[in-house]
Symmetry: C2
DNA sequence: ATTCTAGATGTTATATTATAACATAACATT
DNA sequence: AATGTTATGTTATAATATAACATCTAGAAT
């Protein structure tokens, strides 16, 4: 089963992001209902904060915003929510940035491949069978059994490149 | 120019690591001489500590060992040395582990692809043109210009898989 | 409806990773 | 020796993340 998905494509800055946010929350609710776990208010709020944009968000930035509506919030509040959301495939951690992005495809558990713009910080995500397959092939050559993958690519998105002219 | 190198292959636990260490230090000295920069005692010592094994090493573990011979050492001592070594291609940071591994190919500046064993922590490094090329191809599809790449693959090396039987 | 319980949250403290800022020392060039 | 540059020393603190234990609460079991 070698799917080749664009989980989250680059979108123009002008896109109607309200729709991305709304869709992500709906997908999260559906997922949690289906699996029989609870998307509590804190968890939903953290997810909403992460989906404020397509940029990776830092844990302590989430904490700051969370405190505004819920003064009892502390680091564990955020890290617990993040752990839950990551376990459920609702959020990925960008290891090279110590930051978190939403994932709109929780049903299908995966580790994506991320493309991150240095200028606008937009993160696009693929779940690409070709990449996975090539890495498998390389690994196989020296008898390595893959169990987890991190692919994070930085550079400049089309829109930002246009602006550089 | 699409090279396809195995920078640092998996080696049996029994290999004569003294040779790896020695070769790495010689390569580092040669590189620094050639480029006209200084591999100072601190920098060399940090590099040696990183090359104690093929496992990623944590900054504060380096610091602890450094203190044993040089009591004036502090976090900046280590992080400065690490920065120097990374800039010169003598060390790579494994982002997903916040740890550092030696690189035996400093001449050729690159971002490698890393395969890391969960059991023995051995890190193998490729500088693989095929992988780079595929990522380029994917990026091109949505007009993304790559500037930096992180590929870190976790799993089980051949030797450790054999032991699991 | 009441009790029980697992899961979720609150709270305090601390561990881990990394950098800022400024002072001093070592080294190279003139 | 005087100068500029690079490296190191030193102190403090920022940024990221987890441990440990107390308390609460929604929902299951009775
Ligand atoms: Zn959007
Ligand atoms: Zn951009
Ligand atoms: Zn070795
Ligand atoms: Zn192994």
């Amino acid at each position: 089963m070698s799917k080749n998905k664009v989980i989250s494509p680059f979108k123009p800055a002008s896109h109607k992001h309200q729709d991305c946010l709304r869709a992500a929350i709906v997908a999260a609710k559906n997922h949690c209902d289906a699996v029989g776990i609870r998307l509590t208010p804190i968890r939903q709020r953290v997810l909403e904060l992460i989906w404020q944009d397509h940029e990776p968000v830092k844990a302590y930035d989430i904490l700051d915003k969370l405190k505004q509506s819920k003064s009892s919030s502390a680091p564990p509040t955020v890290y617990r929510a993040l752990e839950f959301l990551q376990d459920e495939g609702l959020v990925h951690k960008i290891e090279s940035l110590n930051a978190y992005v939403g994932c709109s495809d929780p049903k299908n558990i995966h580790k994506g491949q991320f493309f991150i713009c240095h200028d606008c910080s937009f993160v696009a995500e693929l779940d690409d069978g070709e990449i996975r397959h090539l890495l498998q092939k390389k690994a196989k050559r020296f008898g390595f059994e893959i169990n987890d993958e991190m692919v994070e690519i930085k550079g400049y998105c089309q829109e930002c490149r246009g602006l550089k002219e």
